[in-house]
Symmetry: C2
Subunit: 436 residues, 2 copies
């Protein structure tokens, strides 16, 4: 028997089945690229009987992951259970047993990742997590290795396929948020409980991971400002179009010296921007480095086989290291320099804003509103005022010049108390990027 | 003195100066990512006195690369001389002296790469060549590692920035080829002798390298069918637009079982295709894998700092292996399986064609031309016939349905002998791709 690397798979849902399929269908390619075979020895799930698109027969099966941890032959554990528990125990147990881990678990990495990374370092094993961000796009490797000669200055990402699918449907078919969400659920692009996707939490998990890679310091979900797309109105998507913008759930990372902006929120981006053209369940990540300039990476952000492509690439990467007798080749956290990044609070943000007021349709209202804005040093770039009257109110829509979030929030609070203003004012941040 | 990796740079042109700058300006980031410093010890060029945007003072200088080969302290040699000679001797000498090599030299890799790769394998050293294709875009790493779980099915690339700059200028500003070329030369996007770029050779070099990575078998320039953009007329770019297409110098790799298509030629692609939107000196590579589906990688294909970003990333990659005491971690050529790819001759190609005839403006001409096409089993999808008369001839422009290259070439030969046809018929291949 020649050398081989032995793998165990824990969690056999959609992506798990994809991993089994890729390992089977691309077996020859994988072996010829590695120079030795990968052997899937164990599969583990709490339900082994469920109907699946792949057969589990060729593998040792168990419902108890400890059997795998106790098998000394197993080199790499693939954790595809998801969520915090029991995924965290599975990974920490595997690490303690000196097994390398490959995971797609963004929630765990963004919330409890530091403990996992430090434990792996202590035990001399690796954690592969390419599949945790942007599915099949090899963006983790691109930032960790491909662009490693750069100081990463900016990252913009469309990294939640569900939210992007909903926004694309709202825009193209003029649906309401609720209609687009039901459609996404019917077509399998959104889960029965879509909270993580529509409230921006999933995108924020991934943003924390990208920021950790880009900065070399561990950043967690808590460090990311988050607003989801829940309840976004189709009117705002329409007005945005009138101004020449599209609305995307954008992940934004900007680094300037030790200052770091980390945020996820619905964002107006110019309609001719390359990210504006990313539709449906596709993902794209734009990375600006101080040497390379602007780069962009595009592909399927989810799905059985695209995500499996990333999982198996990680397994192959670690298998190469195992065959060479090494580990911890590319540290995630920079060891030497502790720089202490300064995360900019959202109050300190400066950007352009899209603002929609519900105003009484009578003379002098616009002057009242703009008076308050002016008092808070917010100047207006353009205004759309349409005659559409809803319950006695008309929409007044503005694009501001660059302004401070703090000032804008104060001004809106004041404006919302004016008697000429009806429903709550809508605020969406704008990014105008010089890049393609 | 702690551990460090020592580097020598041979060839201090634009990219060489970029490498010096990146190593200097990003020194802290590089060291904190690696956990140890990279030290540039030597710089070598036949002309050390020339004015450069960086100072060579901090380094040992030589005009004789053998000094570097003989320095046992040097771990990695960066070859940025370009061309076949003396670059080949420099690289082979470095390999024999057990030094790792990083190079941006696509011509050498595509023409004499097999000897270099085999020599490196024999001596247990690595060859990094990220910078040889698509400048700063980490496409070599993406195909070798990021997408390594896939059978690569298709690659489309815009990988010659000069040609793309010229085509963009011709299209946007309605310039002739000659006008756009002069403009590219004035603005530093084309060299005084632009042959390699406008005849498609540079793109073909890069295509051979991408195909080698995608297939795991060494493929050389000789395996690639090449047609350049030289002499492309602005009329054809205009007619292409009328049909809804743009003209790009496209690198095309398609693999189906053991069959491989490898070609570089001006190509009509639908104007809403993502590659159609890649303008100026930017590059983009679209890669389709059997698991990941469609991915795309975009960025600057040339330039001092983007190319240096790729060179330094390779140096860091190899430095990591040196610090771990390993080499040859990711073989370029698959060792185990010798599959013997079957390269499809251009005659056997099947695609749609754009054809422009110069025809006499009188009744019956179209029927004569289409009669010959029909005889060779070529059916026409659409025709534009405009009344513009040039020296007694009018352009008749056609898009065919899918047809065989062999049949099309035969038909054109026959048509060019008709007395109703004037100047030589223009033929441009068309790619219609289901992907974004």
């Amino acid at each position: 028997m020649g050398f081989s690397v032995k793998v165990a798979l824990i969690g056999i849902g959609t992506v798990g089945c994809g991993v089994i399929r890729v390992l089977e269908e691309n077996r020859k390619t994988i072996e010829s690229k590695l120079g030795f075979p990968l052997k899937l020895k164990w599969v583990c799930d709490i339900d082994l009987e469920r109907e699946r698109p792949v057969s589990l027969e060729p593998y040792q099966k168990t419902t108890d992951y400890r059997e795998i941890i106790n098998d000394e032959e197993v080199d790499i554990v693939i954790e595809l259970v998801g969520g915090i528990n029991p995924a965290k125990s599975i990974i920490l147990d595997a690490i303690k047993a000196k097994k390398h881990v490959v995971t797609a678990n963004k929630a765990l990495l963004a919330e409890e990742g530091l403990e996992i990374l430090e434990s792996a370092k202590r035990c001399g094993v690796d954690i592969g997590f390419e599949a945790s961000v942007a599915g099949g796009i090899p963006i983790v490797k691109a930032i960790r290795e491909g662009l490693c000669a750069n100081d990463i200055v900016k990252i913009y990402g469309i990294i939640n396929g569900t939210a992007n699918y909903i926004l694309t449907k709202m825009e193209k078919e003029e649906l309401t948020f609720e209609e687009a969400l039901s459609m996404a659920q019917e077509e399998g692009y959104a889960e029965a409980d879509p909270t993580l996707d529509i409230e921006g939490i999933d995108a924020a998990h991934k943003t924390a991971i990208l920021a950790t890679l880009a900065s070399g310091e561990y950043l967690s979900l808590k460090d990311v400002f988050v607003e989801g797309i829940k309840g976004l109105s189709k009117e705002d998507i329409g007005f945005a179009r009138d101004f020449g913008y599209k609305v995307k759930l954008l992940s934004i990372i900007k680094k300037s010296g030790e200052d770091l902006e980390l945020r996820v929120h619905p964002t107006l981006i110019p309609e001719n921007h390359s990210l504006a053209k990313v539709e449906g369940a596709f993902n794209a990540v734009s990375v600006v480095g101080n040497a390379v300039g602007h780069t962009m990476f595009y592909g399927m952000g989810a799905g059985m086989l695209p995500t499996a492509s990333a999982v198996v690439a990680d397994v192959m990467d670690i298998a190469r290291d195992i065959s060479k007798g090494i580990s911890q080749r590319v540290p995630v956290i920079n060891s030497k320099v502790k720089r202490g990044l300064n995360i900019i609070p959202i109050d300190e943000l400066t950007c352009k804003y899209y603002i929609r007021f519900s105003a009484v349709d009578r003379p002098g209202v616009l002057s009242k509103i703009s008076g308050v804005l002016g008092k808070h040093s917010i100047s207006i770039e353009s205004v759309i005022q349409k005659g559409r009257r809803e319950k006695g109110f008309v929409p007044v829509v503005m694009m501001t010049h660059e302004a401070k979030e703090k000032d804008v929030q104060k001004a809106l609070k004041e404006i919302d108390t004016l008697d000429v203003v009806g429903a709550r004012t809508v605020l969406i941040r704008v990014e105008e990027n010089e890049h393609f």
